[in-house]
Every structure is written in structure tokens, then in C-alpha cells.
Symmetry: C2
Subunit: 492 residues, 2 copies
């Protein structure tokens, strides 16, 4: 019966990816360590469903630069629109409103899991990726912000970023708004005025590392033409106004106290600005009393965070060591986590002000950083492979595998076609197996087993000399009764 | 400015749920232990994306009784249909085809994660739930099936199901097909004949625990009317044909060898049936040599598994201890895991036969079993709560929390409004806190701190007598310098 079947494509959907072996275990090991720190700080895990109603997610996406269509959504049978969550903050806001009578208040929670963005995929830019968040909902106290910063610092150190290789930078949106007031682009009596201008100012400052002072100045004024010739419209500030804002970005001083003093000058008579400066002062004091000095957590007015919804303290963790970029140039690794205080998210549901603050760790960026530092790598040693010389004796081989596993040694029976022994060793190689166990008819008669040392090949590939190879027997014949003990010896 | 705002509903979408605190950590602890067993057996983790093309998932759902619309799907901008995965097997088949030149062969992988079903939600029936699978792709050897059974047995024991409280039952579809051949509902020369009848037979046998012999006999014959009066059409077998099939369901004997002998009688001259019996014999022998006797893994012809795609050995893990059902009646806990050999899934993509076998553990069922046995419960002790008597001294309190955390003691600063001290103790209670730390102005002057023992309340609630309460001071005043040591003492 001749039939023509159209076969489905075996393809991950565009912008999605699969994670294999060590990619899974390395991420898991990192997240487990971070969860340990969050637990120590009294944060409880929360796992919301991946699916939310579009209504609960809200129409806004975290980055207002992007279109509203950034979620994967579909219509339910009941005509409700459902969507995959695009971050872990929107579901937290929904939970905080839904369970407000049952949850402790304040509510400290952490969440780790995938989020989905319906965006054009690009190199290193996926439509599903992990986030790792911790938030405190229900307190306006900046002690909550200080705690998040301390916890972030601890989390970075515990996963393997040594002190000195990172810094958590803290700023306050209220200070920036105070500066805007002084510069004349914020009217405390009508906060809706100049909103567009302030958005441009915010995003301009956020790009200072990439654009430099001149680039930011251009965006604060008429606008800026980039290398490709594209023109970005500026905020239209006068040179004097721009100067006030630029003064803010360079307000960082050697000590927290000096920075606070400088900021106090800059915000002048702005009530909001003065409040923000006082909050920063308190945060610095609280952290200092816990032993988190400026070598770990630092006041830095240069940090503004792009997101529109922050209302108070904002923070960002930067890795300060250098890596080579794709063009071979040295550059600082940069940001791996950020967050801040947001007060409007729960109010959407309940109408009541529910102050909240939190941090999100960029899981893939932090993993990349650990790999760049040669840390956080999983043990990629494969299992011991018991080969099959005689397929009539599968039970004998399976008994060997069973004994090894009973002894806690990771082991496999070769389950492919045993005819070609070379294929079995190729398989062991692909599995990064340290030891192959071989028993042919001769050995079975003698009650012996051959152990083949496969670690050496890997060692030589990793640069060990042939001398070492010579001093080490490539394979040994041992008594069957000593299988576990001898394999253990070879593995040690 | 008066405005009427329509607020979004703070609601989990229908059929979805959120997991809080211990619900998350208990599941994670269980899955971590299972992953440890899978790792020991040489299985590698695989995490595929939650989203697949509908084409790759295929139109069929695992249970053929259900409609095709059982997935959450939407159309991409490129007009591709995407969907959330409904199990972990379909993505594995896609991966095995997509990466067939890179993966080791055979490929042993495990996967743990949520899957989504677009079905009517019901009590205890959710539209997102966890699966935990292990599969071996690329080997026809029944040693792979035996290995999966052994691994399942180990996994159940490691999470806390003691030997004797579970049994892994093994059967073989080929044996059942041999019996069908003898009964005259399978024509080896035209396997498409009687397909509908065989489907009914399969599902009837699968329900024997619930319907009993008579119910199954009715479904094999003309059909069955249930308590509600609904009529289910039967397979239309004659009494003689039905008798042959019923003989199969009761073929289990005390030893594997006796069961094999009985099955050999039943399949008579069927080639396929004889092949299936020989496979069962080999599986029993392989397991026996590894020490997995019938107290753990058992041949049982009563197990058929509902899914249509199995082609050879099938297995099911049942918990044999009794629990009380919702009506207070004793019943066996029942199935918590199942699987078997399936050969068609990868072929869909490549056209090549790729034999595979695997098991899926019902994560929620197994968790429920552990809870029923009083095992697998997470430590639900909350954090030590440092209260706030004087909001001017937040830095002092935060320093205490910092010291406790430095010492590895889970601790929190109370971050709500500190005005009402009763609320702080209520909060500590809600957090299941073991110790509250209190320092008012008096204590601060003296350099002391008060520790309030909150464990006792919980202990009394759990049945401890008031005598114990009396022998134990409810609170102690200690030196501030001894904070960590004294808290540790109270916790021990």
C-alpha cells in the first residue's frame, strides 16, 4: 500500500529553545542556592499558574516602549481572553489582591519560573525565559527596600560572585523627580504635565553607559542621530534645564553621606526630592548597621531603571569584572538584577494603595556570568557504562549495573544494538562516561571483569601530558566480586 | 476629578490554581529526590519549551476518548498554530527527531514540569498540573522496560513509600493482543479490523477495579447501563469470546513463572501473543537478577493502561495501603504512576521506527499519598520575627535580624505598621514563627532583649499537655549579646 504522508516538522517554535542536561542542572543549582537565601530572609515561595486572564495582566507591558501585543493570548470557550504571564510581578499583584485576607501582611514572597513574551526573537533573545523574583508587598517602610538590597548581595555571593566583583547600586525615583521639578519638567500641582518629556529623560539617563554624556545631553535637548542615521526625538530641554539633570547623573560621591549631601543640594526646594534623599539616607544607614558597606551596596544617582512603574527606591546589581564582548573588546559584564518600589500594581484591582518593593534576577545573564568566571558549572561526568559483549547474558550485565547503583554510583547498561563494540565505546564517549565495564565470555568463565579508564581521554583533551597517560593503566582486569570497590577506586 | 474605573477581577483563571509556601517546597523536595534516582540510572534532564507547534504536538491527545480540542492553542503572527504542551511525551518525540544526530542513542532522559489541558475543570481536576517522566528512546530491548520498572520502584521508596506499601505491576500489550486474536477480535493479516471493538475491550479491562467482573463482562458484550441510567455501548463479543478475554484479566498467579505459564496457555497459537509472553518472562528474569522480586515488581495481566499508543510492555505503580475516601469508606490508594513501550511517536516525524519506553509519575497523586502517610511534609516552621517597639530604632532591629541570618537562622523584621503590638504577634502567629524577639526602650537601656517562645502554642494545638507548658518559660529576658545563642537554644 503506497501512501504519501506529509510529516510534521520536528522543530522548536521560533524564538523558543530546549535545555539539555547540564543546562538544566546548572540553572537549577543556581536557583536552589538563591532560594536558600530568600528562605533565610523569611520569603515564602509562590507558584502561580502560567496562564492569567488578560484582564488581570493588564494591558500594559513592563516596558512602555513596546507594543501592547507583547503577550501570547487566546480566547477561551467562555469568551474570556487568557494569556501566558509576561513577568512574575503582574501575577503577584493579582495574588496579593485575590488572597488579601489570608496572606500575612506584609507578604514576602519569591517566585522562580518561566515567563513568555510575544516579541520578535533575536540572537540570545528568546520568547520564553526564566525570572527569579523576590518582593515584599504591603509595607511602605524603606527597611523593606534595604532588606531586598542586602538579600540581593547575599544571593550574588552565594552563587559564586565574589565580593568586589559586583555592586548593588541604589537610587530613588523621588530624588530624580525632585531634580525634574527643579529643572522645570515636573509640576507638583499637575503631575500629568510634561509626562512625555520625563519619559524621554528617564530613558536617556538609563542609557548613559552606552551613549555617554554627550549622547544623553542630545536626548535631553533636541534629539540625537545615531550611527545608522536614525533620529531619536529629544525631551526639548534648554541647556540650563539639561545641566540640572546632568548634575544628577554625576552626583555620586565617594561615601553615601557625601552623595546624600550633594543630592540634597540638587533637589533644592522640592518636597518630593527632599523625601527621596531622606529615604536614601535611611537605606544607607540601615544597610551600614547590618554590615553592608559601599563595597557591596552603594548609593548611585546614575541608576534610574527604565520601567515606568517605579515610585521610590530603585536598585540594580552590576557585575564589575571585565569580559570580552563578541568583538573581542574588554567590557564590564554589567547588570544582572534590578528592581525597586512600585505602588500602583495592586491598586489596579482593589483601589487601595498597597506599597510593594522587589527585585528580579536575570537568570540567564547571571548564569552566563558564572560561566564566564568558571563557576557554577555542573559536574558533567557521565555514568559508568556497562557494555554488552554477549546479548544472552543481559541479566548478568544488568546485575552489575544494579550493584553499582546500589552503591550510589551513577551507572548505565548499554541498551543499543551490541553487535558493534566500537559503537558501545563511542556511546560511552558521548555520555562522557568515566569508566566502561566489559565482560566477554573469557572473563565470565574466569569470574573477572575488565574496567576501561575513560577519564584519561578527557584529561588529555583538557591538556594533560602523555606522561601521565603512561603512568596509568588504560584498563585493568579485576575480580567480578570487586566490581564496586574497583570502580569506586577508578572514579576517585 | 470624579472618575468611574472598572477594576479588573483578581482571579486565577477557571481551572487554574496557585501554590503557596509548603505546597511548593513539598513538591520540590519530592521531585528533587526522584531526580536523584533518575540521575543515578544515567538519565539526563531535558527541559523543552512550554510552547510547541500544533503540528509537532499532533492532532491526537493521549486519551482517545477525549475531543481533539484538548489543548490551549493560538495562531502566531506567521499564521503558525502554537499550543501549550499537554504532556511531556510529545515534546520528547519532537526532540528525539529534531536532535537525532546529536543525542546519544539510546537516549535516556527525564523531564519534570507543568503541562496544560484545555478541559472542563472539576473537583481536583486542573488545567495545569505537573508531570514527572523518564523515558528511554532508541532501544527495543525489554531491558529498558525492566530498568524503568526498577527505577520506579526505587523512586517510590526514596520519596517515602515503604516497601510493601506499593507494587509495580507489569503486563504486555502483545499478550493482550494475542488473547484478542484467540477471541477473534484481532486479525493479524489486517490489524485495522475490529479496531473499535478492541478499544472498547481495552477501556473495559482498564476499569475492572471500579466496575467489577460483571461490569466488564457487560461492556465486552452488548453494553452497560450505569447507576445514572446512561448506557455505554459494548464491544459486542459473544459469551465465549468474552470468556477468553476475562480469562486474561484473572491470569495472575502467585509467582511470575506460574503467571507466564498461564498466559502461554491463553495466547495459544498467536505469534504476537507468544512474543509478548517471552518478553514478560525476560523482564521478570532481569528484575529478579537485580533483586527486584514480586514484593516490589509483579507480573499482572490485569494492568492494561488506557492509552492507545502502547505497543509492548505496560506498567503501573499502585499504592496498596488503605485510605478513607470522601465518604469515609476504606479503599486502596491506587495508581500513582504508569507507562509502557510506545513505538510510533518519533516515526511521525522521521518515518523511521524509533522504539521507546517510559514512565510518568502522577505528581499530585503521589504527593497526596505522602501526605496521607504523614510523610514528605515540609518543615513549616516559620522565621524568627523581630518585632518593632520603637520605629526610631529600625536600624537596631535590622541589625538583630542580620545577625540571626548570618548565623543561618531564618529571620524577619516586622515591616508592617508597628503601632499595635498585638498585630505584630498576630503576624508572627500567621507566619508560624517559633520565636518573637522584643526590645522596648527599657530593654535597650539595659542592653537586653526578650525572647517569646511561640512554639508552645503550636505544640498545645497539636495535643501537648498544659503540664509541658508550665515547665517551660513563655518568655525570657537575655543579654543582647547572646541573641543568636539564645534563639538557637530555643529553636533546638
Amino acid at each position: 500500500m503506497a501512501e504519501k504522508i506529509r510529516r510534521p516538522q520536528a522543530q522548536t517554535p521560533k524564538g523558543f529553545r530546549d535545555y539539555f542536561g547540564a543546562e538544566v542542572t546548572e540553572r537549577k543549582a543556581m536557583l536552589d542556592k538563591i532560594a536558600g537565601v530568600y528562605h533565610l530572609y523569611g520569603f515564602d515561595p509562590l507558584e502561580t499558574s502560567a496562564v492569567e486572564t488578560v484582564e488581570a495582566l493588564g494591558k500594559f507591558l513592563p516596558d512602555v516602549d513596546r507594543p501592547n501585543e507583547g503577550v501570547f493570548a487566546w480566547q477561551d470557550e467562555d469568551a474570556d481572553w487568557l494569556a501566558l504571564r509576561y513577568d512574575l510581578t503582574a501575577p503577584l499583584a493579582r495574588v496579593a489582591a485575590q488572597y488579601r485576607n489570608d496572606l500575612p501582611s506584609p507578604y514576602r514572597r519569591y517566585a522562580m519560573g518561566p515567563v513568555w513574551r510575544n516579541e520578535k526573537p533575536g540572537p540570545g533573545r528568546f520568547r520564553q525565559f526564566y525570572q527569579c523574583d523576590a518582593d515584599t508587598v504591603g509595607t511602605a517602610s524603606v527597611a523593606a527596600d534595604a532588606e531586598i538590597c542586602a538579600m540581593l548581595s547575599d544571593a550574588l555571593e552565594i552563587v559564586g560572585i565574589p565580593r568586589g566583583d559586583y555592586v548593588v547600586k541604589v537610587n530613588n525615583r523621588k530624588v530624580l523627580n525632585g531634580v525634574m521639578e527643579v529643572a522645570g519638567v515636573l509640576d507638583p500641582n499637575d503631575p500629568t504635565k510634561f509626562e512625555a518629556e520625563r519619559g524621554i529623560v528617564l530613558r536617556a539617563i538609563d542609557k548613559i553607559d552606552r551613549l555617554g554624556d554627550e549622547g544623553v545631553r542630545a536626548l535631553l535637548g533636541e534629539g540625537r542621530k545615531d550611527e545608522s542615521g536614525d533620529f531619536t526625538k529629544g525631551a526639548g530641554l534648554s541647556a540650563e534645564q539639561a545641566e540640572v539633570v546632568m548634575g544628577f547623573t554625576t552626583a555620586r560621591r565617594d561615601t553615601g553621606a557625601a552623595t546624600v549631601a550633594r543630592l540634597r543640594e540638587l533637589v533644592g526646594g522640592s518636597t518630593l526630592g527632599a523625601e527621596g534623599v531622606a529615604e536614601l539616607e535611611t537605606i544607607a544607614e540601615l544597610l551600614d548597621r547590618q554590615g553592608y558597606g559601599p563595597d557591596r551596596i552603594l548609593l548611585d544617582p546614575g541608576v534610574v531603571r527604565g520601567l515606568g512603574y517605579y515610585t521610590g527606591p530603585v536598585f540594580e546589581a552590576e557585575l564589575t569584572f571585565e569580559i570580552l564582548d563578541e568583538k573581542g573588546r574588554k567590557r564590564q559584564f554589567g547588570s544582572v538584577a534590578g528592581g525597586g518600589r512600585y505602588d500602583g500594581l495592586v491598586k489596579r484591582f482593589t483601589g487601595q494603595d498597597v506599597p510593594a518593593t522587589g527585585v528580579s534576577i536575570g537568570v540567564d545573564r547571571l548564569l552566563a556570568a558564572l560561566r564566564a568566571k568558571g563557576r557554577g558549572m555542573a559536574d558533567t561526568t557521565g555514568p559508568v557504562v556497562v557494555t554488552v559483549m554477549d546479548r544472552e547474558r543481559m541479566a548478568d550485565y544488568m546485575a552489575m549495573v544494579g550493584e553499582l547503583r546500589q552503591a550510589g554510583i551513577r551507572a548505565e547498561l548499554y541498551l543499543g544494538n551490541p553487535k558493534n563494540f566500537g559503537n558501545q565505546l563511542k556511546y560511552a564517549d558521548k555520555r562522557q562516561s568515566p569508566v566502561a565495564v566489559i565482560q566477554g565470555g573469557n572473563e565470565a568463565e574466569k569470574g573477572s571483569v575488565i574496567l576501561k579508564d575513560l577519564i584519561l581521554g578527557a584529561k588529555i583533551a583538557a591538556g594533560a601530558s602523555l606522561e601521565e597517560w603512561k603512568s596509568r593503566p588504560a584498563q585493568v582486569e579485576i575480580s567480578r566480586a570487586d566490581l564496586v570497590a574497583e570502580v569506586r577506586k577508578m572514579l576517585s
